[in-house]
């Protein structure tokens, strides 16, 4: 069937280009091909250099460093010493537990809330544009300012949150000052600061769902939850799964908020995340090999999640 189809312009152009060098053959053809694609190679080299220098080289360097140690100015190979060191750190599992909990809380709060806000925004007939701006506003606040603002809000003595709780005669909380509530307090603040972006992405996905599907669901007598479950979620599955992966990758690398709000490790090390531990190894303990080894652990875990995502997506295709 393909043989009988008249090729369109694109196909003809590609076919011609492919046939050209073969027809002419030899080095002349190759140099012509090179000269024809000079610009493309120029861009390619630029991109490779940029990625190589700023992305790939640091990763390779980190990998190398995780097997090295510098003592008294001499850098030597130490095999798995750094990996053993960080593995035997008394807070290794604490950091992983906190990172896991942070990710879990962030998924429960930070994944669900923006999605439902997006659904609400999508349902609105009036003032949607204004509300979209309002929802996005916190993202425009510099992360440091946002973190310090929440630190102030969380102050058990004069902070906004406890004042509100007192107005309603509700029990107050120690927020960032208790090992039981510090981590979740950071998650709440982090979610507030970043939910604008996620909401807009979900909103864009929701607006791409054909209206006929909802009309059909209406005709079948579906309620709001049925529509969300049977139409909205399946139709936005790809975006949701991508956002899920991005959120896992981002939250497992949490550093800024715990550093700014909870002094890093927090009460009884309850906010010590793996990346904060990387920071401690590098900048507090001056052990870059240990920091690199911890980074390697994190890289492997995140690569695992990415692989899982790719596999799930392939299966769903």
């Amino acid at each position: 069937m393909a043989a009988t189809t008249v090729p369109d312009k694109t196909t003809r152009r590609h076919a011609g280009r492919a046939a050209g060098p073969k027809a002419q053959g030899g080095r002349g053809g190759l140099s012509r091909k090179l000269s024809q694609n000079l610009q493309a190679y120029g861009f390619l080299i630029g991109a490779i250099l940029c990625f190589g220098f700023f992305s790939w080289y640091p990763m390779v360097r980190e990998f190398i460093m995780s097997f090295q140690q510098t003592k008294r100015g001499v850098t030597s190979w130490v095999g798995f010493h750094n990996i053993k060191t960080v593995y035997h750190d008394p807070y290794f599992w604490t950091a992983w537990k906190n990172t896991g909990l942070f990710t879990l809380y962030a998924l429960v709060i930070g994944f669900a809330v923006p999605f439902f806000v997006a659904i609400l925004l999508n349902e609105l007939r009036h003032a949607r544009a204004y509300l979209r701006v309002l929802v996005y506003l916190p993202v425009m606040l510099p992360p440091v300012a946002g973190a310090l603002l929440f630190k102030y809000f969380y102050n058990p003595e004069y902070g906004l949150f406890n004042r509100i709780l007192k107005i309603f005669h509700l029990p107050t909380s120690q927020w960032l000052d208790s090992s039981h509530t510090a981590l979740i307090s950071v998650v709440i603040a982090a979610t507030w600061m970043s939910m604008g972006s996620a909401t807009l992405i979900y909103l864009a996905a929701l607006q791409n769902i054909p209206g006929e599907l909802y009309e059909a669901a209406d005709l079948d007598g579906a309620g709001l939850w049925s529509k969300i479950w049977h139409v909205t979620i399946p139709q936005t599955k790809l975006v949701l799964s991508l956002m899920l992966l991005l959120q896992i990758v981002a939250t497992m690398q949490e550093f800024t908020n715990v550093f700014l709000m909870a002094g890093g490790n927090g009460p009884e090390n309850s906010t010590m995340t793996v990346v904060y531990m990387v920071y401690q190894y590098g900048y507090r303990y001056n052990n870059f090999g240990g920091a690199a080894a911890l980074g390697l652990f994190l890289l492997l875990v995140l690569a695992g999640f990415s692989g899982l995502y790719a596999r799930l997506n392939r299966n769903s295709d």
Binding site: G52, V60, M65, T75, G263, E268, Y283
Partner: protein, 467 residues
Amino acid sequence: MSRIRYRRLVAVALVAGIGLTGAACSSSDKKDDNGSKTSSSSAGTPLDPKTKVTISVDCMPPTTKKPERKQWLDDIAEFHKTYPNVTINSKDTFPCEDTDKFTAQLQGQSETNVFYSYVTDLNQVLDAGQAADITDYVNDKTVPNLKDIDPNVLAILKDSGKLYGLPTTNYSMGLIYNRKIFKDAGLDPDKPPTTWDEIRTDSKVIQDKLGSKGIHGFFEYGAGNQGGWHLTSALYGAGNNVVSEDGTKAAFNGPEATSILQTIHDMRWVDNSMPSSAGKEWGESQKAMGAGQIGMYLAAPDDIQLMVQQYGANFDDLGMAPIPGGKTSLMGGNDYFFKKSDSPDQIKAGIAWINFKFLTLKKGQFNYGRNKADGIPVGLPQPFFFTGQAKATDTADKTQYATVPVANYKSYVDAQVPVKGEPPNAQKLYTVLDTVMSGVLSNKNADVSKLLSSAETQANQLLAAGQ
């Protein structure tokens, strides 16, 4: 060649290229001791004034600190009268040491020829292979006041008997208290507390009398290694160690630690004489004391100047007492190192400058008459590193030109608490001790003994692993 094979070839070439670059860079990172240029036979002689040499020096005061900046530039001009051929390239830095930036500079070998650091950074600087051995360069000709510098202070800048830095300021931890708050609470500001029991009593009085105005008796840190650092100070005050003499075992779990922590716990939860929120980052105590919101906290005397200049405090309101317990005191301070790649003449020029600016009485930082005229406080109990004749001269000069109420620091100065450096693996141990400190500050039902036992196990785990 198929497209796939072609891609594979490109990928292999790329990875090999990156690998080679990495290997090349990593091999360039290998540093060895042969690079040291400190074995010059004429090392012990002062710099010949005819020698033409250029050095870069950091920690020039920023333009916002006008008098300090002016003095730095004036001192360079005066130094040039003796050494006209020495060019000093000053680097404006504030703060003088940002810990993270300092670490990055050491790793990138981008520090100045003569670089500022905290005295507690020696191991980090040596591990990075960045400090020149200046043992042969420093003697009574190049640093005339050397014999009067406290040997304990110099010992902190030594490794295996070799000297690597020169001190510029130092301190020992004590108790800063607000005399005005003491007065307002009916306490005698000339009799600050000297034990933890007295701290608790005074703290409660302050809270009872002034708590309604948002003033608390005592302040403590509970995160970011600050809590661990303060607990170490408190333990030193009680005469305790954090680790055993040979550095192999934790040595903090004892009755003194239990008693101190229980007192802090009770101040926080029984007396409610501390803020509900523990300090989480360095600077919060200074801010609160500067604003007149807390009565006391553990600190070094340089905090006094910081609180006045940055947080609106008044010199008359601030007093300083020795560390509670008064057995030993955690010391710290600042110094300059000399980059290992410096030439012998650069090292000599650097030492000549540091000697002129920071170690010569009546010159540089010790020119108290000029400090008074320029509005820089005179009379604070630091630097604290001179002994003997130099100390006597310094004290006399300081008294003559004093602009701050020297009597407010009398009990701190008179106590002369012996100083002690940080424990080995200090930062890791501070992380462990942070857990204990934050435990009593954040948990009303904290079990102090359990917290200490658990921290002891963790510290031993670190020490056993040779970390």
